[in-house]
Symmetry: C2
Subunit: 403 residues, 2 copies
């Protein structure tokens, strides 16, 4: 069939759809000549391979159960573990009808959007934010309102005006999306005072908060901020977390916690989306957790990544030009770099020529912006490559500036 | 928050959403007092537990790769296996850009609908059809046109009128959905002549065909019909198959084959839906397949299920009243029973009282119908229970009829 025939058959959203920019970048990782600061990938050398593989004994022991269809809500032993393990963060043990296991955090976000968004509904996101969130929300028909971030996270002081202007324009806003800890890409953590303010604003304007927290466990210094979920008295916070960054993304197991009203809708949507998350994956993750490895390994992962963060900070201080602006994140995976006057998209191509990859700024801005910024991930590249990558990056910058 | 507040926040489709009826029925399976002919579950006693578990060696050997994010398109070794293994059915080895690994067949269907359907677009489904398809398609905004089935599958002779009437009413039809082999629930297989006719009709009216084939490998007698995909010269057939019924549903691994144009869109939607299917699950399935177990076990599964089919046929002949109409399927999982004058929903409740569960007819009709029909699955219940379940079913029928 001709392209024109296909375009007649495609849905409106599919016809215009673009690939998620982050996923497209992953192909550079497979080129061994290029040092990748691009994708937000964990270090494969820190994966607890043998400990995870040891859990495979469950395949033989409980095979008749875990090879069968599972409950859409998730594998019971894993649900029980999470309810207890997350209690210190959630403020209490969550009830079974507040918890849904998802096929990665991305699915949690997709199901939440399906439960809330009609095409054209608005969501409020941080500027900059995670490109995968922009992709998923856009696929579900979202329009974006953006609020800038500073070193303390989302500028909650600007929120009321953003909301009122949009509502006066007749826009229907459904939720505020915030990556609360070590934000992707800015690295900023929302302060406790701003968390409270965010909750007050959501309450005042009748909105939900989607508190996305894939990096919260990976704090390299300082103390944890309380979750917004734990402060919420009205049941308007949906909290998402994942095994991707603290165990392994290949398992595709994450979880989402929220008021039973919305979890029930998400379960029904998940029935139609994939029935249930791989029971095999869930059982292996549950084995790993129940055998105590989660608590044993997390400190090792934190110490490993803290060193890599320090190595990237030192390499940037050594090699990048003096006008490069970045701050050292207290956790998570990323540095966010601003180079006044640079075109990040052109710099990306120069970077590839010089053998280093990153993600350029515009990918993180839902409504445009970030042309002089880029994100670098310090967890994936090997220690010796952190310095060399920064050196190549400096070369690429000098090359682009004609120095 | 109050229910009214929630209803303001929910999307239109979520507000009205009902749970998938099949998933809701699964809770009866967990009651050991009830013999379940309800869910379409494989027999857990035929799962190749130790052979599948043996593949876990791959977790230790390739852990650094399979614990990492995977390609959205799927795990390369599994994609290579499927391209070759499916060649006899597909008519040729499929190209990499024609194949997408999905998190179960349900996800393939969901992604296809997202690629094609605007809210209100129409799809043509068989009457009766798989309730999970109705649930997924409805969640994606589908309206339904239905075409009856007989012993030779979809009544293709009635299709042109259905299409023309709908098009004259201004409806935009996107695809025709057919479960081609041992249809769920009718058990019928579409004849080769009708497959050709279906393709001609799709071509004439500019529609796609979604050829769903979860049961095709499970043929207990007779020879295989050619796939519609293999007859297609214009690239208008999307073919779906799954490991759920031939290996184990708990792996949540299936695949979909189609023209590169639509597969590319589905990949982009999957990026936003779950990034990639569990690499752990895919790697374990690939190990199992590459070690030759798929070809070794399939004949055993077929022979095991053929015996169970025969046992249910004998039990029905022995116990059911003489006006019960059913035919013995040549493959798949299901008997479809018509009992003139019975109310299947009431019979279902009587069945639970008497200790037997099935799925009542209306669940299979997208636009209503099937009140005097029900589906029984013969693969899940244990051999001794097939006769006892039929006896209880007969009791429930007599009870309802006041005999």
């Amino acid at each position: 069939m001709s392209q024109a025939k296909w375009d007649e058959l495609f849905s409106d959203s599919a016809r215009e759809m673009k690939p998620s920019p982050i996923r497209e970048l992953l192909r550079y990782i497979s080129n061994p000549e290029i040092i990748s600061f691009a994708g937000g990938n964990p270090d494969p050398f820190i994966f607890p391979v043998s400990e995870f593989a040891a859990g495979a004994i469950v395949l033989g022991r409980n095979g008749m159960e875990i090879l069968q269809y599972g409950a859409t809500e998730g594998y019971t032993p894993l649900r029980k573990f999470l309810s207890k393990w997350m209690a210190p963060r959630m403020g209490r043990e969550t009830e079974p009808n507040e918890l849904l296991i998802t096929s990665g955090s991305q699915q949690g976000m997709d199901l939440l959007c399906a439960a809330l968004l009609n095409p054209g509904d608005a969501v409020i996101v941080e500027d900059p934010t995670y490109p995968g969130a922009i992709h998923t929300m856009r696929n579900r028909g979202a329009q974006f309102l953006t609020v800038p971030c500073d070193a303390d996270g989302m500028r909650t002081d600007l929120l009321p005006e953003v909301i009122e202007t949009a509502q006066n324009d007749g826009k229907k806003i459904k939720f505020i999306y915030s990556i609360v800890n070590f934000q992707n890409p800015s690295g900023a953590t929302l302060t406790t005072a701003r968390r409270k303010e965010l909750l007050d604003i959501a309450s005042k304007y009748g909105l939900l908060i989607f508190e996305d927290d894939p990096y919260g466990h990976l704090r390299y210094e300082g103390g944890h901020e309380p979750t917004i979920f734990s402060m919420d008295q009205e049941g308007r916070v949906v909290y998402a977390c994942s095994f991707s960054k603290i165990l392994a993304p290949g398992v595709r197991v994450a979880w989402i916690v929220g008021p039973p009203n919305i979890i029930r809708k998400m379960v029904m949507i998940k029935q139609g989306a994939d029935m249930c998350t791989s029971v095999i994956s869930q059982a292996l993750v549950a084995s790993y957790c129940d055998d105590g490895y989660m608590d044993e390994f997390l400190p090792r992962i934190i110490s490993h990544y803290a060193k890599k963060r320090d190595a990237m900070a030192a390499a940037f201080a050594r090699h990048l030009p003096s006008d490069a602006q970045f701050s050292v994140p207290k956790g998570g995976f990323f540095f966010w770099v601003k180079l006044p006057g640079i075109d990040a998209k052109e710099l990306f191509m120069k970077g590839i020529e010089h053998g280093v990859a990153f993600v350029n700024g515009p990918a993180f801005f839902a409504n445009g912006g970030g042309t002089d910024c880029f994100r670098t991930c310090f967890t994936f590249a090997q220690p010796s490559d952190l310095d060399e990558g920064a050196r190549r990056l400096a070369e690429a910058i000098a090359d682009q500036r004609g120095e």
